[in-house]
Amino acid sequence: MSTFEFPPSIRSRPVYCVLQARPGKAHLMIADAEGAEALIDLALRAPELMAKAHVIYIPKATDFGAALKALNPAQYYEGPSYSAAVSRIKRVFLDASMGLQIYLSGTEGLMGQALSEAMQAGYDHTAIQTEHRGSLARRMQCVHCKGITEDVSNDPFQCSHCGLNLFVRDHYSRRLAAFQGVCIDAEEPGNVPPSKELYS
């Protein structure tokens, strides 16, 4: 099962929904890994979307590609990573018109970054649907060195840039598409609690 019920948290923490078909001139669907399942479920409920859909998919070592392609979207792209896909995503927003519906699914890092791109293109974040599926790993920003560490699944963790031991906060930046990591042993260097898997 690729769904997870996040416990209630602070206001800053993003909350996710179940993707719903909405009227639109075109439909942009961006997913990674198990996020494909949310798109497949959406297409089952609303097959009419697919004739006007552009699917951008990053498999991340899963094999949902064939099933997504079988939904027969108007455009289908599969890329090896978000960084590889982002220039295409920017281009889509540049060319898009109002009436485009945006559906994001998969990991928080993927959804957050795609949402941030849409915001930079002038689109309101509240109008974008997001459905979490798959990994609970987070995209973290070290508040000290500002470096981003992708796919953090343990708390605390070591910043991949400056090496500080960071506490995984629910405090989130929509603009950066990252949660904030704060030094956990600033007062007593070396006193770091054992690292645990997130939500374990």
């Binding site: 018109s97 109002m98 009436g99 509240t126």
Partner: protein, 332 residues
């Protein structure tokens, strides 16, 4: 007044502080619309405002104090003057007629501080304006604001006839490529489906005009996939007359009879009770009032309360809504 800097020009209580002004110019635009310009009596600049803001004009009509909201249509960068355009409404409650018939250059009046319930979303890649009739006024200030910062905008303006097309000449002369005008009497109308189709991603849509136009634009936009956050509208309702009714104000320990031609808010103010308000048109939510007891029917007319709140009988917006029945007790 604690917490307020001694030199602050900000109102101490929202809606309470007034700007003392003198009418500096009156310009008849056409058979229905007249522009009024104001300057401050103390000669200082007006407070800054952003395009889309309105002011509530206080009119002393004999014994009666009238308070009507009008959009500021002057240039937000020109603070020596505030200007409004008033459409004469012969069937209305008399505020616009009072402005047209009684107000002379040099008269002293009071204006509220500006309040903006129809702001530009400056994150927009493009601003698409749809105006009907006197609904053009907030856009005039917004256009000036956007011109000053090189903003991307386009106006579609529907009027009854060339004779009644307020500011059409100014707009088509200054912004010929951004302005499209449609005249009802020439059977011209905005091709809305076509207009909304293909607008660049990140466009915001703004509509101001008669209720029918606002509903049409919002409905069409929603049906074609425009999110609510990108569709803005402004519609001031005027309070409608109705049957007189009695109200008990619990906190003030007063009872008041609301007259047929008077709004509930006006009746409360008549007793000297300080009730909050901003727009006086059912839009802003400032005057929301708790109902403590009631036996009768609420005539909710505002755009503020949700349907379930209206049905609950626990809230009322006294600026535009009325009541018919035996008992109404408000927490005021």
């Amino acid at each position: 007044m604690t917490g307020t800097a001694p030199n602050s020009t900000a109102p101490k209580t929202v809606g309470a502080a007034k700007l003392a002004v003198r009418v500096s110019a009156i310009t008849t635009l056409n058979a229905l619309v007249t522009r009024f310009e104001f300057q401050r009596i103390d000669g200082t600049d007006f407070p800054t405002f952003s395009g889309g803001a309105h002011t509530v004009v206080e009119m002393m009509d004999g014994e009666k104090k009238r308070l009507n909201p009008y959009s500021l249509m002057s240039d937000p960068a020109e603070l020596s003057t505030y200007a409004i355009s008033v459409r004469r409404d012969d069937q209305g409650r008399g505020g616009s007629l009072f402005m047209h018939q009684k107000i002379k250059v040099g008269d002293e009046m009071a204006l509220s501080y500006p309040v903006n319930l129809f702001v530009l979303d400056l994150r927009a890649r493009k601003h698409l304006f749809v105006a009907g009739g006197i609904g053009i006024t907030p856009f005039l200030a917004q256009i000036k604001q956007l011109e000053a910062i090189g903003g991307n905008w386009e106006l579609h303006y529907s009027c009854r006839s060339p004779d009644l097309g307020s500011y059409v000449d100014e707009l088509t002369e200054n912004y010929p490529h951004a302005t499209s005008v449609y005249y009802d009497d020439k059977k011209q109308s905005i091709d809305l489906d076509n207009l909304l189709d293909g607008q660049p991603f990140g466009t915001h849509l703004y509509v101001c005009g008669p209720k029918g136009m606002i509903d049409w634009v919002r409905k069409t936009a929603t049906a074609t996939g425009w999110p609510q956050a990108h569709v803005h509208h402004e519609e001031f309702l005027a309070p409608q007359p109705g049957r007189p009714f009695a109200v008990r104000l619990k906190k003030s320990e007063l009872t008041v009879e609301v007259g047929a031609q008077e709004s509930l808010l006006e009746a409360i103010e008549r007793l000297g009770v300080d009730a909050p308000y901003l727009c006086r048109g059912g839009a802003c939510g400032q005057c929301e009032t708790d109902v403590l007891d009631s036996d009768g029917t609420f005539l909710h007319r505002d755009h503020w309360l949700e349907d379930d709140e209206k049905e609950s009988g626990e809230k009322i917006m006294p600026c535009v809504s009325r009541f018919e029945g035996k008992i109404l007790v408000l927490n005021r």
